[in-house]
């Protein structure tokens, strides 16, 4: 790709970026949120019709202006935002756009089963996408890309929803592909992943090419990305969290939902103290999201009780939870958190509108000022608070979600994968934010698939497996990743409690 | 009513402008009325009939059409109201604006108009009832296909018919339903009646299309021969009631006079300051096999511009 440029109304997303990838090479693309990584790759994959610059493949100029063009040139892309059709089956999705005129179901399903098996997914090809979990969907996207005859494979944060085991399997697949001469462009905010998989790292900032390195030196890369040196990644000071008990959950059981793949919770007991950060670890489908959602009043428990700040707490819906000062940064920002077609201000103030009411009407000036302050504090990269959220880069969208919940001044904040898709710099900021929240006497309950993050941030870590708490580690115990993983895979085995 | 208004430009050769608001152009009967009115108006070279305004069955639309004509200061106004009450105020507005109004076909609830011309639906219903009594000397079972229930013609055609068949207590109406004036509605209803009732002797349709829709159903069931069909409208179009009588599909139909000829004449008189009869109720003609061909020729306007 040579001198690629692209502008959106009000935003210069890319400016004269060039990129070269060789056969069998894995190039990682690194940059802050909104640096233009997805835009660059989208151009390569034919998402945008119009752009500046030129693309060359195998030494010849390739005119790529539609996804079809891209496919003809053997380019496949796994998009950052998952792009599957919920009402169609896995097999239908994998072959979408490449079917024979008359479907050959048998062949499609057989091939799908094979691909899924290669990725360690034990799913029926006929299963509908809407019945699959996010992580499964992400792997299905991978399978979809693999099912084509690719020369260049672009992966835009393919692991953001994946746990360790699946990530490993993905690496195996990637190595297999490069072994066959496929070029891979890999976007991720997890630096440790790049160390492992990338031959070369290219850094973008503010839509411009900054430089590249073949040896991964974290600090240097971060410096290149952010344009400034960044301190400790996980800036949580030891200790903290000896305040009063904020949230107490006792014997909580929540039924699953047949067909939707929701994990049932069984007899969960836990507590979060003021000023404490508690982590929830577990494998995919362990019930972490389910747990946070239940505390937020999203599911109806069949047994158990909760108390908040010493008083009984039985939220029947999120509204009740919010009123009691609970916030949930949900797992899927697109589906669960944002009205994508509306503005940043609209989204950020939605749960806290009550604060801005004057004579029954919303005081728009006060609202915008508050939102602006919060958005600036979180360094959301945007032309203004009236910008449409859907047009922000993924990481900035996540920050808007955080801003939205911080505006409610919660006493207990539940975070489900809060740093998914967030660049290193912003991640550090979010971590700092969590620390300061805790320092301010709030309780934080965070579920994450990134164990290092949990280990660095949390005062205590709970491990979930199949809807049960199978272990609890305090910071003093200095748990290792291995210990947590073991508990996470404990199944029905006995563990400490 | 005011005399010819030569005031505006003062010229002798003034052309009078006449507006006509029709309740629904797309009913065959009304299409025929429009055609006839345009035809007869041509006989008066000093009168220009504006394009006919179609209210498409909506009173609100029609009220605003009348108001439009008032705004345009037409010299005379003809209105075929969709419903009596809604148009009343609009007609009064016209009246206050000193525009002579001719009410055609359906009434309004005010006296502030220059002339009413229309058929008498009760009378037509009665005639249809008398014909039914004649066709069923030994009594029998009648089914009745009604127009839209709230339409005045429906109410009148039903009333007159029931009064007339009371003459023979052995004649019973065993079923009646709303066919909404539409052929397509009538056919399945008749099919259901044929399935339910052993013996149907006569079908009374409030208009010809419904009677013919029922005929199609009966013919399909092989019962067309045993059942008599009476309709109303008697339009002289290939697809109309007169032809159907000629073909023996209907036993009889009754011409619902359009009043177009009378309306044209009345407008002309009013505009030239002549006196007109305020209420002109038109009679009906029964169409039978004997007079069908003749009537068709008389009313057929096809081939005339």
């Amino acid at each position: 790709m040579r001198a690629i440029g692209k502008s959106f109304p009000g935003v210069r997303a890319l400016d004269g970026v060039s990129l070269t990838v060789a056969e069998g090479e894995v190039v990682a693309l690194l940059g802050e949120n909104g640096a233009g990584k997805s835009t660059l790759m989208n151009i390569l994959a034919g998402v945008f019709k119009h752009y500046e610059g030129e693309i060359e493949i195998g030494g010849r100029v390739a005119h790529i202006h539609s996804p079809k063009d891209a496919r003809r040139h053997g380019i496949a892309m796994i998009h950052q935002e998952l792009n599957l059709v919920p009402e169609l089956s896995i097999a239908d999705n994998i072959f979408l756009g490449r079917e024979r005129a008359i479907l050959d179901r048998k062949a499609m399903e057989a091939r799908t089963a094979e691909l899924l098996r290669g990725l360690g997914l034990d799913l029926s090809p006929r299963r509908l996408i809407k019945q699959c979990k996010i992580a499964e969907r992400q792997l299905i996207e991978v399978a979809k890309a693999l099912s084509q005859n690719v020369r260049v494979l672009v992966m835009d944060e393919p692991t953001s929803a994946l746990a360790d085991a699946e990530v490993r399997r993905l690496y195996t697949v990637i190595r297999d592909l490069t072994g066959h001469g496929v070029a891979v462009i890999y976007i991720s905010h997890r630096l440790e992943e790049l160390e492992e998989i990338a031959d070369r790292v290219v850094v973008l900032r503010d839509g411009a090419y900054i430089g590249e390195r073949s040896e991964v030196d974290r600090d240097e890369l971060i410096q290149m990305m952010a344009g400034r040196p960044l301190g400790e990644l996980f800036p949580r000071a030891d200790g903290g969290g000896s305040g009063e008990e904020l949230l107490k959950v006792e014997g909580l059981s929540v039924p699953g939902e047949p067909g939707s793949g929701r994990t049932p919770l069984r007899e969960i007991s836990l507590s979060v103290r003021a000023g404490e950060i508690v982590g929830v670890a577990g494998l995919m489908g362990a019930g972490r999201s389910e747990l946070l959602e239940s505390i937020f009043g999203l599911h109806r428990p069949t047994a158990g009780s909760m108390s908040l700040g010493g008083r009984p707490y039985r939220p029947r819906r999120p509204k009740g939870a919010i009123r009691r000062g609970v916030a949930l940064v949900a797992e899927d920002r697109k589906a669960q958190s944002l009205v994508l077609g509306n503005t940043i201000a609209f989204n950020a103030s939605l749960p806290s509108l009550g604060r801005f009411l004057r004579f029954g009407t919303v005081d728009a000036r006060r609202e915008h000022r508050a939102v602006e302050r919060q958005v600036n504090e979180l360094r959301v990269k945007t032309p203004g608070t009236r910008f449409t959220v859907g047009n922000l880069s993924g990481g900035n969208q996540q920050k808007v979600v955080l801003a939205k919940w911080l505006l409610t001044s919660p006493s207990l904040i539940l975070m489900d994968e809060p740093t998914r898709g967030i660049d290193v710099g912003a991640k550090a900021e979010i971590h700092a934010l969590m620390s300061s929240l805790a320092a301010g006497g709030k309780g934080v309950l965070v579920a994450s698939s990134e164990l290092p993050e949990l280990l660095a941030m949390c005062d205590r870590i709970l491990v979930l497996c199949e809807g049960r708490i199978t272990a609890e580690f305090s910071r003093e115990q200095r748990p290792t990743q291995e210990a947590i993983l073991e508990a996470a895979m404990a199944r029905q085995k006995v563990t400490t409690l | 009513a005011p005399g010819p208004s030569t005031s505006a430009d003062g010229g002798e050769k003034k052309k009078f402008v006449v507006g006509y608001s029709q309740s629904n152009n797309a009913e065959p009967y009304r299409a025929q009325l429009n055609l006839q009115l345009q035809h007869y108006m041509k006989k008066y070279p000093d009168i220009e009939l504006l394009p006919i305004a179609d209210a498409k069955q909506s009173s609100a639309t029609q009220v605003s059409q009348v108001q439009n004509f008032i705004t345009q200061k037409v010299d005379a106004l003809i209105v075929s109201p969709t419903e009596p009450a809604p148009l009343t105020a609009a007609v009064e507005q016209a009246c206050q604006a000193k525009i002579p109004v001719i009410i055609l076909d359906r009434t309004v609830n005010t006296d502030c108009y220059s002339a009413f011309i229309g058929g008498d639906n009760v009378l037509i219903g009665e005639k249809a009832g008398e014909e039914a009594v004649k066709l069923l000397p030994d009594g029998g079972n009648i089914v009745e296909l009604r127009g839209i229930m709230s339409n005045q013609p429906q109410i009148d055609r039903d009333k007159g018919f029931r009064e007339a068949i009371a003459a023979n207590p052995k004649i019973k109406i065993i079923a009646d339903r709303e066919g909404k004036w539409l052929k397509e509605q009538a056919t399945p209803i008749m099919q259901q009646w044929l399935a339910q009732h052993e013996k149907i002797d006569l079908v009374y349709g409030h208009n010809d299309p419904m009677a013919l829709g029922a005929y199609l159903a009966a013919q399909a069931a092989g019962k067309a021969g045993q059942i008599k069909f009476i309709g109303i409208d008697g339009l002289a179009i290939p697809d109309g009631g007169i032809r159907a009588v000629q073909l023996g599909q209907l036993s009889a139909t009754f011409i619902y006079p359009t009043g177009a000829e009378e309306a044209a004449a009345t407008v002309n008189k009013i505009l030239h300051g002549e006196k007109v009869e305020k209420k002109q109720v038109l009679g009906t003609t029964q169409v039978t096999k004997d007079n069908a061909a003749e009537l068709y020729k008389k009313y057929d306007l096809s081939g005339q511009g």
């Binding site: 400016d15 989204n347 203004g384 | 394009p51 009220v63 705004t71």
Partner: protein, 352 residues
């Protein structure tokens, strides 16, 4: 590194807001293009005859009840639903009004709340079916359209009920006299203001304020934009859904007496197919049937476009068959011209 001459992306707040204000004013101006075109054609072809108070009042007055329905329908559309029953609800409210007047000689100011309760009740059922039974609103309100029409026809015995009730002295009763002020042509408030027009404008203003200035309004947009996110943000999606349908029903109830007065009678068929006009007004005004997008100002403009289009075509004595054709074509043209991204489209086009 490439040097760019682009303006710095993270714009400062004040500059940004000025930019935005211009932008939105531009977008707003654009939303009136269709309307302006029709006005221009009206003035060009008919001049004074078109552009005078009486004509415009008549034109808007004839559409006012449908305009009020359109406001209610806009609320529902904003939440991502649709309300097909408003025509029937207007019908039964109009019948209620006429009966209250003729049977019980109620005063007009008593009739309006009763009609609104009747409409609101059926609207509530629409909302309950949609929110609680989770029936698609299209089906729920289509069924309601049928049910309410049946009830309307049944209570009226299929006979239209007049509102110009004469007392024993042969003159209109005081109530009937007063009732005419609701919109019988030629009857104005203070001999000046035609109530249907006033009512329509007031309804638009009130709901414009509700949607833009209140928490309820925000929640309506949130529910339509992303119901899951709305729920997780503490919005009571069920309550909002039920509320918008109830409001839509109440507005239909409010429009009922206007319709009855306008026709000086309540026809059992009154309001039939008004829902299409109401929805058309909302959608021409920019509301998206997918929910979350639309404004009352837009709906107001959409309603004016429809009514003035009728008026201009009627004044120009266009034959009715051609009116149907032209109306369809103009609606398409108006919608295309008013697309907020039209200019963007051109700009984008010229850039690439």
């Amino acid at each position: 590194m490439t040097a760019t001459t682009e303006p710095p992306p993270p714009a400062k707040a004040p500059g940004e807001s000025r930019l935005r204000r211009t932008f939105s004013a531009l977008g707003a101006a654009q939303a009136y293009i269709g309307l302006v075109l029709i006005l221009a054609v009206g003035i060009a072809t008919k001049g004074e005859v078109f552009l005078n108070e009486t004509n415009l009042t008549n034109a808007v007055g004839a559409f006012a009840s449908r305009g009020i329905l359109a406001v209610g329908v806009t609320l529902v559309i904003l939440t991502g639903g649709i309300d097909l029953s408003v025509g029937s609800l207007l019908g039964i409210a109009s019948m209620t009004a006429a009966m209250m007047l003729s049977k019980y000689s109620l005063e007009p100011w008593q009739i309006v709340p009763i009609c609104m309760v009747v409409g609101g009740l059926f609207g509530f059922l629409n909302g309950a079916g949609t929110a609680w039974l989770r029936i698609q609103s299209f089906v729920m309100t289509l069924a309601m359209l049928s049910v309410v029409r049946g009830l309307d026809r049944q209570v009226s015995d299929n006979v239209s009920v007049g509102t110009q009730i004469a007392g024993p002295d042969g003159k209109l009763t005081p109530q009937a006299e007063a009732f005419q002020l609701f919109g019988t042509p030629g009857h104005n408030l203070f001999d000046r203001i035609y109530y249907p027009v006033l009512a329509f404008v007031v309804v638009c203003v009130v709901f414009h304020l509700i949607l833009t200035k209140t928490r309820f309004g925000r929640h309506v947009y949130a529910v339509g934009g992303n119901p899951t996110a709305a729920r997780l943000s503490g919005v009571n999606v069920t309550a909002i859904t039920i509320a918008v349908f109830t409001l839509s029903g109440m507005l239909a109830g409010f429009a009922g007496p206007i319709d009855a007065a306008y026709s000086a009678s309540a026809d059992p068929q009154a309001g039939q197919s008004y829902e299409l006009d109401a929805i058309a007004a909302a959608v021409i005004g920019g509301a998206s049937l997918a929910g979350g997008k639309g404004t009352i100002a837009g709906t107001f403009v959409g309603a004016l476009i429809l009514t003035l289009l009728d008026n201009v075509l009627g004044l120009n004595a266009v034959s009715d068959n051609w009116q149907l054709v032209i109306k369809g074509l103009i609606v398409v043209v108006a919608v295309v011209l008013q697309r907020p991204d039209l200019f963007k489209f051109f700009r984008g086009g010229s850039r690439s």
